[in-house]
């Protein structure tokens, strides 16, 4: 799932992702698909939990790409 200004880059908010094993591989795929993502600031959440560094991705996990929050 893509949120906020990231949807300006992806043009969509949900997308089936390739089966990758960790977030490093996922980032590589994302940058290849959407080169503008290299310049975007975003966090990754796996199953509603923010992750940092390289994290394993369980099968069937729900992935969220999220720019800085701006609620309130």
């Amino acid at each position: 799932m893509y949120f906020g200004q990231l949807t300006d880059i992806t043009g969509c908010s949900t997308q089936r992702l390739p089966a990758v094993t960790d977030t490093d591989a996922l980032r590589q795929w994302l940058y290849a698909q959407y080169p503008a993502m290299r310049q975007a600031k975003f966090m990754i959440a796996i199953n509603n939990k923010l992750v940092s560094g390289n994290e394993a991705i369980p099968e069937g996990a729900q992935i969220a790409f999220m720019p800085p929050f701006s609620g309130g």
Partner: protein, 148 residues
């Protein structure tokens, strides 16, 4: 053993109505151990950016994640302050300039706990909830809101 409680919803489509705020306040009249209420309201500003005026902010959220995080924030704040109760409402969808988009309401026997808890809750909501605001300009165009 551990029971997964469904997180309490905080999201509401459209602005927070002042009449709803009044009802919330009135409901606390039976809780006579309360001595002070602290309320924060976020209101959408008609900022002018490079000649274009914001007419609304359209809020979206990763709702499931936001509600989980809000549950965590709520528990941390109840553990830290002697609160009687705490209520949070955040708008989703397009909220026009002048309308209320955030309502945080804390109550305690003494004012300090209510005030400090309210402030901490507002700060954490703005910093930690996956919510995004899209500032819609009059006429056409938009920009993404940036907090702080």
């Amino acid at each position: 053993m551990s029971e997964q409680k469904k997180p309490k919803n905080i999201f509401t489509q459209g602005p927070v109505d002042p009449a709803f705020i009044a009802d919330s306040i009135a409901k606390h009249a039976t809780k006579t151990s309360i001595g002070g209420h602290s309320i924060f309201l976020g209101q959408v500003r008609a900022d002018v950016i490079e000649g274009k005026q914001v007419e609304a902010i359209e809020y979206t959220s990763h709702e499931a994640m936001a509600l989980e995080k809000m549950t965590e924030i709520r528990e941390a704040i109840f553990a830290k302050y002697p609160l009687t109760c705490m209520h949070v409402h955040h708008s989703l969808g397009a909220i026009k300039a002048g309308e209320i988009c955030l309502f945080v309401f804390t109550s305690s026997a003494h004012r300090k706990a209510a005030i400090d808890a309210c402030n901490e809750c507002v700060e954490r909501i703005k910093a930690e909830l996956p919510v995004w605001g899209k500032e819609i300009f009059q006429g056409e165009g938009y920009q993404w809101k940036v907090n702080q």
